[in-house]
């Protein structure tokens, strides 16, 4: 049976939208002739031509700025950051131009800015980051972080069709490790909707991105110990699916919030706050955050392993929480 990897799901999603809608185009560094540093855009130059697959100079601000300009006159640009770490160079265009146009003067900016995020591949401090928290406090943006091939395809399609700017943070560790059968017909995954990856009664792990797999591994181990864990995959972190968050918190009364972005100021704090504000009386224990320490992402294997949340850490913290 033919299965689709996470990275091919992204490519197929973009490809199908480009076939369907002539206003969709790609721009970024090495996306054309080379097909992208990770080959997300492989074959697109041949298929769609140089007017729709544009190799740019090393100018992230121009990539996003040009995407904004084209979007203002009716195009649907998909801008690639070669590594998502470089999105910092385009920060100003994203937060001050793209995010504020609709509110200020009613002009929609339907752009997608996407790129490989995350660690676990020894990329070091500048090729491993999870920058979603930088943008989490910016009204006007949407942020998605798919964990499965199905969601990767469904969310890139939803992002391209969305009338507002969407930051699409794909996880490079999952690119070729995660695969599944995908429906042949067209589908989208709605932005702002979380999904339960595992149902359980005793404890909830709320997470997204590559950490979904760590949570599921931990849940398997905890099941052996008689602890029944529910795993909620947020999929989108802006907007947050507050209803799904509160539902699982009220159901199990014990919550772990897990992410790969560093701890302080990470998106998990907001999830915790919503639960504390709106489901406090349902809780039977403290809400626990699991995230990397407040350091840059280190390169050397023992350091990176210590940095990234590991299954055993989750199991240990879950056991303590379950004991309340």
């Amino acid at each position: 049976m033919a299965v689709t990897t996470y990275i091919d799901a992204i490519r197929e999603g973009i490809w199908e939208e480009m076939e369907k809608d002539e206003s969709v185009f790609i721009l970024g560094e090495d996306v054309g002739i080379y097909g992208g540093a990770f080959k997300v855009t492989k074959g697109m130059l041949d298929k769609f031509g140089p007017m729709r697959v544009i190799d740019t100079p090393i100018s992230e601000s121009a990539i996003v700025g040009a995407a904004i300009g084209a979007a203002l006159v009716g195009m649907r640009p998909v801008a690639e950051m070669q590594f998502i770490d470089f999105i910092s160079c385009a920060f100003d265009q994203i937060v001050n131009f793209a995010a504020k146009c609709r509110y200020r003067w009613g002009a929609g900016v339907p752009i997608v800015v996407r790129g490989p995020s995350g660690g676990g591949v020894h990329g070091g401090p500048f090729h491993s980051q999870n920058p979603e928290a930088y943008f989490f406090n910016v009204p006007g943006l949407k942020i998605v972080c798919p964990s499965t091939a199905y969601d990767a395809k469904g969310l890139i399609k939803a992002a391209i069709r969305d009338p507002d700017p969407v930051l699409y943070f794909e996880h490079k560790y999952l690119y070729r490790r995660i695969k599944e059968d995908l429906p042949a017909e067209d589908f989208v995954v709605p932005i702002g909707k979380a999904i339960l990856r595992r149902e359980g009664e005793d404890l909830s792990i709320i997470t997204y991105g590559a950490m979904v797999y760590k949570a599921l591994e931990a849940a398997e181990a905890l099941a052996q110990m008689g602890i029944d864990v529910e795993v909620l995959d947020l999929r989108s972190i802006l907007p947050l699916d507050e209803e799904a968050i509160l539902t699982t918190a009220k159901k199990t009364s014990k919550v772990i919030v897990l992410h790969e972005a560093t701890l302080t100021g990470g998106p998990g704090g907001e999830v915790v706050a919503r639960i504390a504000e709106k489901a406090f009386e349902y809780l039977d224990g403290p809400i626990v955050r699991i995230a990397p320490p407040d350091t840059p992402v280190p390169y050397s294997p023992p350091l990176e392993e210590a940095f990234l949340p590991q299954t055993k850490d989750i199991v240990e913290k879950a056991k303590k929480l379950a004991a309340y």
């Binding site: 121009a62 040009a66 904004i68 131009f97 003067w105």
Partner: protein, 337 residues
């Protein structure tokens, strides 16, 4: 190569406006002056405009003499001293004053103030305070025109201060590589807030940088509306015909402080005296009177007309409602048509 237009009246232009166009340009320059004088010297000081005020006094020829060449579907990304662009695109003085007063019928419905306004119905992209951000954005508009095979152009305006930002470089470089139909106009008004040119750049002219992008650059007297008209037309025609971007630098002077609260005490007074003599409006009026395209009676009438237009705009704007407080959370995201 940097081509220099001379400041003499013997300068020969490729494009010379007819008398009707000259009168039209004078009208818009005078209207810009009238609106901005009213905003800065009256409404702001009287507390009827609550936020910051930035005017382009002395620079009126630049926006008027360039934007006049726009076709209906062209798109413009002005900066904060380019009021003429809005008027040339058909935005009414009523809505401009309402914008300054934070009213619901201003272009941003009270979400933003002063020159931070735009409307794609007029093909005007709203300026953001982060200078030079509009350069990659204008390049993107031009990219869409090229992708769709349209014969439209994008115009992008900045002061010389904005050219120190990285976005200015990135945008122009990108536009130059792809020969995009966009023209970059620079209002070089000698000061960025209090910072003079020599502390902004180590070159005398911004336009020399064009060579670094492989595109034409030109230095023009920005206080000579006929020179602006001619150079603007040539640059826009170049872009429209597939010749790609160019940089046209207009030498001018900011006849005010950076904003209404700034007395510009750091500017040597003799510079104001020198540039007052080169005022683009009085200079043009004198030329038109001398050549007989305009009578003193007609000129006086134009002045009265402009004052009446602004009287009406202020009266209208003050009757406009403020946005309702509950609108504060609206329109952050698409909410349907």
């Amino acid at each position: 190569m940097v081509e220099r237009n001379t400041m003499t009246k013997n300068a020969r232009y490729v494009h010379v406006p007819d008398d009707e166009t000259k009168i039209r340009m004078l009208h818009f320059m005078k209207l810009v002056r009238e609106i901005e004088d009213r905003i800065e010297k009256k409404l702001y000081r009287q507390g009827r405009i609550v936020g910051g005020v930035y005017v382009g006094r002395g620079q009126e020829a630049i926006s008027v003499g360039t934007a006049i060449h726009m076709e209906k579907d062209d798109v413009v990304a002005p900066s904060h001293r380019d009021m003429g662009v809005f008027l040339m695109r058909g935005v009414t003085p009523r809505r401009i004053i309402a914008q300054y007063m934070g009213r619901r019928t201003g272009l941003t419905r009270g979400r933003d103030g002063n020159m931070h306004m735009g409307d794609m119905n007029y093909n005007v992209i709203a300026f953001v305070s982060h200078l030079g951000d509009n350069v990659p954005v204008a390049a993107g508009v031009a990219l869409a025109f090229k992708q769709r095979g349209q014969k439209q152009v994008a115009l992008c305006y900045n002061g010389e201060g904005a050219t120190s930002r990285g976005d200015w470089h990135e945008g122009i470089n990108f536009a130059s590589i792809h020969k995009l139909p966009v023209t970059f106009f620079i209002n070089n008004n000698a000061y960025a807030y209090s910072t003079p040119i020599e502390l902004q750049m180590a070159v005398k002219d911004v336009a020399v940088r064009a060579a670094g992008y492989g595109i034409p650059g030109e230095v023009v007297d920005g206080n000579d509306i006929l020179a602006v008209y001619d150079s603007g037309k040539r640059a826009i025609d170049l872009a429209r015909s597939g010749g790609g971007p160019s940089i046209v630098e207009y030498k001018t002077f900011r006849m005010t402080g950076h904003s209404a609260h700034d007395d510009a005490g750091y500017v040597p007074p003799e510079l104001f005296d020198e540039w007052k003599r080169k005022d683009p409006i009085t200079r043009f009026e004198k030329a038109l009177l001398e050549e007989g395209a305009l009578t003193q009676a007609r000129l006086d009438e134009m002045q009265r007309e402009c004052a009446l237009i602004v009287d009406d705009a202020v009266e209208w704007a003050e009757q406009q409602p403020y946005p309702a407080a509950e609108e504060v959370t609206k329109d952050v995201y698409y909410e349907g048509t």
